[in-house]
Structure formats: structure tokens, C-alpha cells
Symmetry: C2
Subunit: 439 residues, 2 copies
């Protein structure tokens, strides 16, 4: 991931220069990252990207080259040299609270809270939003797809349709976090320890003298991990070729066809009659949560869904609209809560905590309160301290632990939130003190 200090919007740097010039470097600010509205169809979001956000903050600095380049920009023509000296020693020194990755969350809830000298907190806005918006978008899509699969296995196969290779890597991570079982993207296996899965491409079959030869030579090399592709020419004929050949592949994949349920049934039947009852059927090809739900409802004998485009681009809602807003300032010990009052774009003031109130082990409502208010009854705080004075306060949880946490927290949501169409709004309330301040 390109994580240099220039991966930001120009106005963050000009505002920094402004704060420096205004001698406002000692002013501390708190910004909160949240989402104003749920994307279409979704009833909740799944927080993701905190780990990469913290890595970005930890290593943030300006290189000598970057500073020299900035100094030559026309925009900085009138900015006096001391500002660039300040950049030379710049490090992020703030405190950060965040929702653990995998937390289901709702509009208006801060999922990240940054308290730092104003210029530092400002600079990091663009990168924090880009990092967290994207992974949260994909995790929130993945959880829908995994739920639709109703216990069948889901694999992420989307690298080629992701928004570049870096997006492919992070999409694989967010998908796994939110419940997928594996990825096809090798770098995600190496970087994050995500289980890898692979089959074969149509080109393998096309490049072989015959389809049978393509199947047998692959099986010789990959043994009991072999997954054979059925639809290069004709699915039924390819299945019969496998049966006749005495191969016993771990799986077969169907990547096209107008009626995948019927196709899977015909393949299952042919395999079963030949005694290949443990050969799994993998289906791929422009799948999404709705097509998967239909295949599950039709009781199609599919063991694994491999999902690409719809998952890694969150195709029906590819952007989240997360925002990062100033909510509090502290200058010479005086704390001032601030809010933006534009119509339809208002924010809630003050440094806040989100409480999830549970009844009988199930989430009942969330309360957004000032961070110094006492805990509501039966409530757990969702924001946790993760960085103090620019250093992490705890080791990052393993991706496996985050995945389990996501599953547990999602399972604890009201059932009405777990449908593919939004059928209920989860109650999120400001505390009485927050509500009084907003008014």
C-alpha cells in the first residue's frame, strides 16, 4: 500500500500550513469518522480497515524529497520556510479510538476517533477515509453474500475485477474477515495468511491436446487437491469424461450457464452414479447474494460459491460515503464542542462513545453518548483505545480472531437485520446529554 504523506488531498496540506501560520499547533482537535446513511439494501455495516489505518499513522512522515517537491508547488509559493522545517520532524502523535474490525455498525456512529494536534488530525483525513471506507464497503458486502450462502462455503475470486492490485489484496482481507472461507489471490495468502484456493482456467483446457488430457495431467500433478473446470466446451460431456477416466477430483467447477441449479443437479447426479459422492461442486460466474439465495432456495447441490466482481467492487454500492468531521477543539485547556449545521450534512458535536445495549444476548439498541458519560445499563462500549501518543496500545488482533468476533457480533443482531432487503431499522439514539447539546 502506498502510504506516504503525500497520499492526501492538497487542502489538507494547505490547511496544515494555515494552522502552522496561525500558531495553532498546540490546539488539539478531535475528529470522528462515521457514515451518514446506509447504502441501498443494507441494514448494517461491518467495520474494517482499522489495522491498515493504524499502520499508516505509525509510519507517517515526510521524506526530504517530498518536502522539496512541496516547497516548489505554486500553492505553497508564499508559505514561509519554517513550515517545511516543521514537516521535517513531523510524526503523528495523537490518540485513536476505534471499533474493532468486524464490528457491525450503523449510521451516525463514530467508528474511529482521532484526537491530535489540529494539523496532524487534519492531514490524515484523506488516507483514513480511503482505507476504512473501502474495506468497510467490502466487508459489508461480504457478510451479505456469506449469509445468503446459508452455511455453504464462499470463496473470494475477484482480484481481476478489483480496483487495482492493492484493492484486490485489501478486498481479499475484508472478505475473509466478514466470513469468506478463502481467496484465490496469492498475495493475500502470503500477506495475511488467508487460505488459498485455485482451480484451473479455460486456457488450460484449450491449450491441452484434448479435454481429457487436460484433466489427467492436472490431476497427476495436484493429486487430491485437483479441481477440474467443466464448462470450456460442454458441462455434461466434461463430467462424463471425468467419470469415464476414473479420476477422483476433489472438486469440479461450473463457470457459466443459464441455469446453474439444473447444471449442478445434472453434474451431481452423474458424479454420484459413478460413486464420486465426495467430489465437491464449485460454482462461479457473476454470482452475487441474490443469485446465491436463489440457488440455495432451489436446493441446488452446490458446495461452494466462488464470488468475484460483485464482492470485491461491492458492485451495487461501490462507495460508502464515510466522513471525518471535527467534533471538538481544546485550546489552552478550554474545550469547545463543534458541529457543522449544513442542511442534510449536519454532524453531532463532542467526543463520543457508542454503547450497544443487549437484552438476552441479542443487540437491542445503540446509544451514542459523550465519552465522559456513564455506561447505560446492559451496554458494552464499541470504541476501544488503540493508539496513544502515536503508538499502538495493544497488539493487533489476529485476522482469525477478528473473523470470529465479526461472526459473533453479527449473529447477535436482531434477525430482521440479517435479510437481503432492509426490512427494519435498528434503533440508534443519542444520549439525553448529546441530544440536549445538539438542540
Amino acid at each position: 500500500m502506498p502510504m506516504n504523506a503525500l497520499s492526501t488531498d492538497l487542502y489538507q496540506l494547505t490547511m496544515m500550513a494555515g494552522y502552522f501560520h496561525r500558531q495553532a499547533l498546540d490546539v488539539r482537535a478531535t475528529f470522528e469518522l462515521s457514515v451518514r446513511r446506509l447504502p441501498p439494501h443494507r441494514s448494517f455495516l461491518v467495520a474494517a480497515g482499522l489495522e491498515q489505518a493504524l499502520s499508516y499513522l505509525e509510519q507517517l512522515h515526510f521524506s526530504a524529497d517530498e518536502i522539496a517537491w512541496l516547497q516548489d508547488l505554486p500553492a505553497f509559493a508564499h508559505v514561509p520556510p519554517p513550515f517545511f522545517d516543521y514537516l521535517r520532524s513531523f510524526r503523528f502523535s495523537g490518540d485513536v479510538w476505534g471499533m474493532p474490525e468486524g464490528t457491525p455498525l450503523f449510521p451516525m456512529e463514530p467508528m474511529l476517533r482521532v484526537s491530535a494536534p489540529l494539523a496532524e488530525a487534519q492531514l490524515v483525513e484523506t488516507a483514513l477515509l480511503a482505507i476504512i471506507n473501502f474495506q468497510t464497503t467490502v466487508a459489508s458486502k461480504a457478510v451479505r453474500i456469506v449469509r445468503a450462502a446459508a452455511g455453504r462455503s464462499v470463496m473470494e475470486f475477484g482480484a481481476r475485477r478489483a480496483h487495482g492490485l492493492d484493492a484486490a489484496l485489501l478486498a481479499a482481507r475484508a472478505s475473509y474477515l466478514a466470513g469468506c472461507d478463502a481467496t484465490s489471490f496469492v498475495e493475500a495468502g502470503r500477506e495475511f495468511g488467508i487460505p488459498l484456493i485455485g482451480t484451473m482456467g479455460h486456457s488450460w483446457i484449450l491449450a491441452a491436446p484434448t479435454e481429457l488430457d487436460g484433466f489427467t495431467s492436472y490431476a497427476r500433478l495436484f493429486g487430491d487437491r485437483t479441481v477440474l473446470l467443466l464448462d470450456t466446451f460442454d458441462v455434461d460431456a466434461a463430467t462424463q469424461t471425468i467419470v469415464d477416466s476414473q479420476l477422483r477430483p476433489q472438486g469440479v467447477r461450473i463457470d457459466s450457464g443459464e441455469d446453474l441449479a439444473a447444471s449442478a443437479r445434472a453434474v451431481r447426479d452423474r458424479l454420484d452414479r459413478a460413486g464420486l459422492t465426495s467430489t465437491r461442486i464449485i460454482v462461479s460466474g457473476d454470482l452475487d447474494e441474490r443469485k446465491i439465495a436463489d440457488l440455495v432456495a432451489a436446493r441446488a447441490p452446490i458446495d461452494t460459491f466462488a464470488v468475484g466482481t460483485a464482492l470485491v467492487t461491492s458492485e451495487d454500492a461501490p462507495a460508502l460515503g464515510g466522513i471525518y468531521k471535527l467534533v471538538e477543539m481544546e485550546d489552552e485547556g478550554v474545550i469547545r464542542r463543534v458541529m457543522k449545521r449544513s442542511k442534510g450534512k449536519n454532524t453531532w458535536p463532542g467526543r463520543k462513545q457508542v454503547w450497544r445495549v443487549s437484552i438476552g444476548g441479542r443487540a437491542a439498541r445503540d446509544v451514542i453518548a459523550f465519552d465522559d458519560e456513564p455506561a447505560p445499563a446492559e451496554a458494552s462500549p464499541l470504541l476501544q483505545p488503540v493508539m496513544h501518543h502515536g503508538a499502538r496500545t495493544t497488539a493487533a488482533p489476529s485476522l482469525e480472531n477478528s473473523k470470529r468476533y465479526c461472526r459473533r457480533m453479527t449473529d447477535a443482531l436482531p434477525h430482521a437485520l440479517l435479510t437481503l432487503e432492509r426490512s427494519a431499522d435498528y434503533p440508534v439514539q443519542p444520549s439525553e446529554a448529546l441530544e440536549a447539546t445538539i438542540r
Copy 2:
């Protein structure tokens, strides 16, 4: 951009092992990258990403760490050691033809053609698709937005909503290539020389003692490059504050409001009456080509549109569905053209060229022909040789030149293709020889 050799799908590596094992390393293959269908509303696409694709191919290699890690993967448990020795000396040695960046193109037309030893051509599929799919998606969206603006300036402001920071960088590049005038993303200025633009954030105003103080202190530092943000509290009041303050900002920005046209008119009127006739009005806030077309049709006095989410995620069509398919094999001097015949997913065989036939300086139709066929009359070839034996054959064109080329080639399309709704299909025909082979 993470461009290591493991940025690929697992099956590319298992197929490589298969080709090695099958002693098929001397078999040369040609793959072509194309798109089967236009995304909704679009009448054409704009090729982009070739430059990053070639950089990827040039530097592609396996590090010792990567090879050791691969060798330990369960998938490779039965693959004999010589394959890993082969990876140690692996470099991409193929020939590549590509459409220059900025070329308008259509379904079924190869925009990239890779001829290389089978295992090499196979490995690079995932990365080439991820790189080219994404930038082509954004360029194809950007050209719509720029056309809708009808000569008014368009700025790319979307980094925070891009699919990560790497996507932000490449989206800025593709947007500029396809006609945007500048970006807010600083790294894109440094990496690609794209003009930068910045304004101020709402936080700057919220952090100031008063809105007036926020305006004046910024103007003192940034002089005639100052752009002031009007909608932190109330647009009209902020405009009056500027007028009363005797500031003469280069521009003002309106970032929210239910009726941007009315808002811009009121601001323009107030500025003009105070003699601020050269202060430009910039509008931002969830704009897309349709909203821009409406504002232009309403003759709203807007000088510059700043576009974010819709542009960098290509929100209404965030994935392209590009494919990379084997079309030809050459083994011991024997050439074999191949095609996949799956229903709805067929490909056209053989190594091909795309010819654009022009009549009176305007594109009339494209012809897809085998690469050894003679040129049709009045036709120019769209695929150019860009890499030979793994090395670039020409210096990359400057981004400025690609931008001008894009403009010229787009201007030469039939007018009916330049509308926001698809109203006409551009004729793309296979040559007689190609058609005969397909049959």
C-alpha cells in the same frame, strides 16, 4: 502499486507448474484482453492502464522469499523442485501490442495482445486485468462527466472514496487522461505531474474563531490562489462576509444544498454586484454526469465541477468485466487458433488487429481482422507494438499527449455516441476471414 509476482490468482501458478511439468514451456501462446459488453449507459469505453501494465511486465520476477513461501504451500506439495528453479530465473519475455491509452474502444475488440511462452502469458492474466479493467473503467466514466460539463472545468476530488490509496492515485491518472483538468490528490501531482487544486475544508472554518477570521487568515497565506468554502453555516451569509471583507478570492466553493443552480446564481449575483466578477464558482458534493448536465442545461453560473465518488468508483458501473483469453498457440512451428465456445461466453479465435475506418475524418466503423490480413480502405490500426522480448519498444507517451490523443479520438466518434444515454450502436464487424473461421 504492489506489483510482485504473487499478485496473481493461485490457479495461474498451478497452471504454470502444469505447463512446466508437461514440458510445454516452448509452446507460445497469444492471449487477448477485451470486454464482452458495454456497461450500462455507455456507448464506448476509453482504454487506460497500458503504462502500468507494461511497468508490471518489465519488472516481474519472483524473489527468493516468494519462491520459498510458494514451495511450502500445500497446493505445491507434489510439484517437483525444478519448477521452483525455473521461477528463480523467470522474467517476462513476451511481445505485447496494445491500444494507446485514451483510445475509444468497443466490445469484442482486443485492447491488449500478449504473445509469450504459455506459462508467462498465463501468470500475468490477473494483474493485467486488474490494472487495465480499473483505469479503463474510470477513464470511461470520466469522459462522460467531462462531456456533460460542456466545456466547463472538471476536477477530480475523489481520493477519500476510492478503493484505497493506490486506487485513488490511478483514478486521478485515468480521470486526467480522459479530460479532467486537475486533481486534489497530491501524490498524483507528484507521480504523474497532474495539476493540483485545493480549497479548504469545513473543519478550517469550524476551527477558526469566526468564519471571517477563517477566510482572511487563509487569504493572507495563499493570496490569489485562495478558494473559500461557503457552506459551513449559510452560503449567502458567507458570501456577504467575503464581499464585506474586501477579500478577492480566486474562487468560492459550494459543497452542499438542495438547489445548487439557485445557490450558484445567488452567489454569482452577490459577487458581481460587489465587483468580484472574476471570482470563480466551484461546486462539489455528490456530483455525477447527470447532475452536471442538469446544471449546465439550467445555465447555472458554475465555472468548475469538482467530482469525487461517482468518478473514482465509476459508481453506476464500478466493474468492467474485461477478459483475457487464449486465442492462438504455436507449437513447433504449427499455429493453432483456439476459441472458447461456452454459451454467452464465446471468444473470437486468432491473433487480431482492430481497424478504425474513417469517413470524412469521422469514425464510421471498426473491423476486427486477423493480424496478417491487409488493411481495409481508409482504416487505421488501433493496436500498436509496445513490447518486444519483454522490453518496451518505444518510450511511453507523456500523459499530456495521451490526454490530447483521447480528446481527438473521442471528438472523431459519431455524435450519437457522445450522449449520456446509449442511443446508437457503433458498428464493429469481424473481417470476412475471421467470420468464416468463427463459423
